[in-house]
């Protein structure tokens, strides 16, 4: 599951502005499976699992511990009903990179969602992978989602 080249080639760009920061975010969403009953009725899917990968340049040195604590504090301050389920705890990526993970859940008007936030720092780039699933299936799907996150790797340099 990689980002289609078409998207990468057409990365949007704006006229340069001094001091502006740029961050990239890619979203991977599981397909919507519409269930069709024998009667011909269809049932819409519940919340679709997804993984969002965000990357940004660090403007000042930051440790993983500080970064995940900032993430946690920001979420506690901005998300009502948020509950930390687990972590922060060490996380190992398939490519050998080290990260920290944090499991949370929070209510939304349609369902309670659960997320795993995994942070890693490569040189001066902070990567945050957020896997989101319906909380009711979190226990069953957590490992599946972590497997996806674990497979994160940096794109090889062109040429």
């Amino acid at each position: 599951m990689t980002i289609p080249e078409m998207l990468l080639f057409d990365l949007p760009a704006l006229r340069d502005r001094e001091g502006w920061q740029v961050a990239l975010q890619a979203t991977f969403v599981e397909p919507a499976i519409v269930t069709e009953l024998a009667s011909g009725e269809t049932l819409p899917p519940g919340p679709r699992a997804n993984v969002v990968v965000g990357r940004r340049l660090l403007t000042e040195p930051l440790t993983l511990e500080t970064a995940i604590e900032m993430t946690r504090t920001n979420m506690l301050q901005s998300v009502a009903g948020l509950r930390v389920l687990r972590g922060p705890e060490p996380f190992a990526f398939d490519d050998g990179g080290a990260g920290l993970s944090l499991d949370i859940q929070f209510p939304t008007p349609i369902a309670t969602l659960a997320q795993v936030h995994v942070l890693r720092i490569d040189a001066d780039v902070l990567t945050e992978c957020v896997a989101t699933v319906d909380e009711a299936s979190f226990e069953d799907r957590r490992e599946e989602m972590l497997e996806i996150v674990r497979s994160f790797r940096r794109r090889p340099a062109p040429g």
Binding site: I33, L76, Q77, A80, G81, A111, D134, S137, F138, D140
Partner: protein, 909 residues
């Protein structure tokens, strides 16, 4: 209540008896002196000046004066101020004229002395009228000055006239000097010259002066009631005081005081009762005190102004304490001795605190600690009221009115407050004042408490709590501590745990502290060995036979709950209806009637064991948790504080985790206290009740015998009942039991009657394909194995009607979350009776835990529906397993989970 108040009021009604004023007034108006005097003597006889009533000098002049005096008395009793004063003025003028005439005529000394007595009596009455009605006597006669002096002059002029003494006393009472009046009359009651009739009258007025009714006239009924000579009186009358004060005030035409419940007791020490009472009076203050007055009334005004709460009633009592000492007792707080050590700055919000005596400062501190228990000064709806209680627990002001609009994003008040507190503001919240010493809650303690959040409750051992509390003392600079926790969401919970032992210690979250340094708690509490709470079986083992195939008891299905001695005592408590309520609710949900529950104590059972039997069959047997098994809840006060501080214990009572064991409280009474608002707070008895509710289908299956079926039929229209009866009672009973066993409600039984009774016309049974084609709207084909269950076509038809009705009743306008079980998920399922079947079934059912937590419904292939239901019934007895055609039309549904092929975790390989 009214009768009680009246009975309590009876001893207060010791005022002199009142004559029939209207009769007297009429007789006086008719100038019929003889009958008027007779009537007056008959009805009163002791309040009237004897000289006036004396017939010895019944010449025309004195006869007219007698009538005037009677008319004045009648007018006084009837509240006719103008008439009363006019009569008295005429009497005074008459006496003045006669005295002048006598002096001109040659000084008849005896007659003049008599006139002086008459004048003294008239002046005494005038003084009383003036005091009662707050008018200057000089408005009647310029020679007369204030009422008190006038009454005094009357006594000086006629020192041996009991009447003028009584009038002086009533004048003093009306002027607010009930103590002085009582003291003087007590001396008079022993006077040797007083005849017995007057002596009794004097004693009567003494009782009146000492009673609260007289003290009401001192300006504040509450003050009067609190400051009576015998403080034990308050003990005797307890909570009825506010009503009594209100009634007294009404009788006296005063404004009705607020109905304050007496919740705080202030015990005052002193050398004798007089000094204690004087101290009490000084503390109470006057009715005109404002927030700036160092008095209880001033404190009440200040609390209302600053925090928006009403200080409850305070009972002032004498106690065997030293001079100046006092003890304050308030609910859910440790007693506070005076003088109390109060953290610097705690009382800065009250401008009068510096001038307040030590007892009052301590009372203010007690008030601060109980802010969230006080009645709010404003009327708030549920959400703002919950927020107000949380804010008050943090010594923040309650909102004066509903917050509109309520932020929808805040699912609960605690979250709202947590977020609000994370925003820096001025002045800083309680605990973050500059002169606080911030101390970390040791990391291992916080971790231990946080771990409890995911368990049955936020729980800690009392020893751990004691160590934390012991370490919370002012630092070397005398700065009072505030405890800092890392997790903002834990903050209110930890504050709730601490507030019983250390209500003076605020708890703040790290995120609220900004960059302020935080010191370790010194000495740090030693780590505590974490262990499991006292062992008890969690959950209830459902009988394996939870289906229609289970043996059915038709002979005697009365329900019997047998309990060990300790649990029996709790279940049998008069206030505990929780078990019966649970059974009733289960019956209502299933649409059937259930028999009453018999409660039996049985010694051989261990103290907390219980057993439910239907007839002779035991349906379930389990151990109720010991009271206080979750050791943090070691006192009802702590439970109340915990519940009140957090309103709903988010991690504990998460509605998405209904199966999570909830907070246990110490006893039945405490559960009853909080159960209404906090349904997840359980007593051990409520724990049993919940277990019984889960047994609802199993109970109902066994209780639905022929008689119960007939009773149920009697509740539906005759046409439908007759149609159902045509099926035969026994087959009908089997069908209904099969439905109930799977949690299908019979509430809409009447709707299924006609399709069931006439399947041939409405339903086409396709035996070869194993299908039923029904003419039910929206459902064309009902696949069904049609082999094992009795009356398969009728069961299919009944489910097609009743399952949608059940789901619609449960989910209402909400959206049904479906967990789709694919047929492939059962590919490796062992057959019925296989050795590994139970283990496989349990592991399979665990995959539906999320569905059960979320209140979802399992959607199964129609041909495997019954099988799937059977496989998960032990773990999820209440989970509905339906086929697609049983989905209610018109209700929104979506697929939230899929159970596909794959290794079932925990299943044997």
């Amino acid at each position: 209540m009214i009768r009680t108040v009246q009975r309590l009021l009876a001893p207060l009604r010791t005022a002199p008896p009142e004559p029939a004023w209207q009769t007297l007034s009429a007789l006086a108006a008719e100038r019929d002196a003889v009958r008027a005097v007779s009537a007056f003597i008959a009805s009163s006889g002791e309040s009237m000046p004897p000289r006036v009533l004396s017939p010895a000098r019944s010449d025309g002049l004195s006869g007219a004066r007698t009538l005037e005096m009677i008319a004045a008395q009648a007018a006084f009793g009837a509240g006719d101020r103008r008439g009363c004063l006019a009569h008295l003025a005429r009497v005074l003028r008459s006496l003045k004229r006669e005295s002048a005439a006598l002096e001109d005529a040659g000084r008849d000394l005896e007659a003049l002395a008599h006139l002086r007595l008459l004048r003294a009596e008239t002046m005494a009455m005038l003084a009383r009228c003036a005091a009662e009605w707050e008018i200057p006597p000089g408005s009647i006669d310029r020679s007369l000055r204030d009422a008190a002096r006038l009454a005094e002059e009357a006594v000086q002029a006629a020192p041996h006239e009991a009447y003028v003494h009584l009038m002086r006393a009533m004048t003093a009472i009306a002027l607010g000097d009930a103590d002085g009046a009582a003291a003087r009359l007590r001396a008079l009651a022993d006077a040797p010259w007083l005849n017995e009739g007057w002596r009794e009258s004097v004693r009567s007025v003494v009782r009146y002066a000492e009673g609260p009714a007289a003290r009401v006239r001192q300006g504040s009924p509450l003050r009067a009631l609190a400051a009576i000579a015998d403080p034990a009186w308050l003990d005797r009358h307890g909570d009825a005081l506010p009503e009594m004060a209100a009634e007294l005030a009404l009788r006296l035409g005063r404004p009705v005081p607020p109905a304050l419940e007496v919740r705080i007791v202030l015990e005052i020490g002193g050398a004798d009762e007089k000094r204690i009472e004087a101290a009490a009076n000084a503390l109470i203050g006057t009715g005109t005190d404002g927030a700036g007055s160092p008095s209880i009334i001033g404190l009440r005004a200040a609390l209302r102004q600053r925090f928006g709460v009403i200080l409850p009633g305070i009972s002032l009592r004498a106690a065997a304490l030293g001079e100046g000492a006092a003890v304050i007792r308030a609910p859910e707080q440790p007693p506070l001795s005076v003088p109390a050590e109060i953290p610097a700055g705690d009382l800065d919000w009250w401008e009068a605190h510096a001038a307040a005596p030590a007892a009052l400062r301590a009372l203010a501190q007690v008030a601060l600690r109980g802010l969230d228990r006080m009645p709010l000064d404003s009327t708030l709806s549920h959400w703002p009221a919950a927020l107000a209680r949380l804010r008050l627990a943090e010594r923040m002001e309650a909102p004066a009115a509903d917050v509109q609009p309520v932020p929808e994003a805040f699912s609960d008040a605690m979250t709202a407050l947590t977020i609000e507190r994370l925003t820096p503001r001025e002045p800083p919240p309680w605990g973050l004042e500059p002169d606080r010493s911030l101390r970390w809650l040791p990391r291992d303690d916080e971790a231990a408490l946080a771990a409890g959040v995911d368990g049955p409750a936020i729980a800690t051992e009392p020893a751990r709590l004691r160590r934390i509390v012991a370490a919370l003392s002012p630092d070397g600079d005398g700065l009072w501590p505030a405890l800092v926790v890392r997790d903002a969401r834990l903050r209110p919970l930890i504050r709730a745990l601490l507030r019983i032992d250390r209500p003076d210690v605020p708890v703040v979250a790290r995120a609220e502290c900004g960059g302020r340094p935080v010191a370790p708690l010194d000495p740090p509490p030693e780590p505590v060995q974490r262990g499991d709470p006292p062992a008890w079986r969690r959950g209830v083992a459902l009988p394996a036979a939870g289906s229609a195939e289970a043996p059915w008891i038709s002979a005697d299905w009365s329900l019997t709950l047998t309990a060990g001695p300790a649990l029996h005592a709790e279940l049998a408590a008069a206030r505990n209806a929780v078990v019966e309520r649970a059974i009733e609710q289960a019956a209502r949900a299933l649409g059937v009637g259930l028999p009453p529950l018999r409660l039996v104590a049985e010694e051989p059972l261990t103290p907390r064991r219980w057993r439910l039997a239907c007839g002779t069959e035991v349906l379930a047997e389990a151990e109720a948790p010991p009271a206080g098994a979750l050791v943090v809840l070691d006192s009802p006060e702590r439970v109340r504080a915990l519940v009140a501080d957090t309103e709903r214990l988010v991690p504990i009572s998460d509605p998405r985790h209904p199966a999570t064991p909830a907070t246990l409280v110490e006893g039945v009474a405490e559960a009853a206290l909080v159960a209404g608002d906090f349904p997840s707070v359980f007593s051990p008895a409520a724990w049993v009740a919940r277990a019984l509710a889960a047994l609802g289908p199993a109970i109902a299956v066994r209780c639905l015998d022929d008689a119960a079926v007939l009773a149920r039929l009697a509740t539906i229209p005759a046409r439908e009942a007759t149609a159902l009866l045509r099926l035969g009672l026994a087959p009908l009973g089997r069908l209904l039991r099969a439905l109930i066993a799977e949690g299908v409600s019979l509430d809409a039984l009447d709707r299924v009657a006609l399709p069931l009774a006439e399947p041939a016309r409405r339903v086409r049974w396709l035996a070869r394909e194993g299908l039923v084609a029904a003419a039910l709207p929206g459902h064309l084909a009902l696949p069904h194995p049609g082999t094992a269950a009795p009356d398969p076509e009728r069961l299919a038809i009944a489910r097609a009607v009743l399952v949608p009705a059940t789901l619609a009743a449960v989910h209402g306008a909400g959206r049904i979350g479906l967990w789709l079980v694919e047929e492939a998920a059962l590919a490796d399922a062992p057959g019925a009776g296989a050795a590994d079947e139970a283990a496989w079934n349990d592991a399979f059912a665990r995959r539906l835990d999320g569905c059960a937590r979320a209140g979802g419904v399992v959607l199964a292939p129609a041909s495997r529906r019954a099988e799937i239901r059977r496989r998960i019934a032990a773990r999820h007895p209440m989970l509905q397993v339906i086929a697609a055609h049983e989905l209610p039309r018109g209700l929104a549904a979506w697929v939230r989970g899929r159970i596909g092929p794959g290794t079932v975790r925990g299943a044997p390989s």
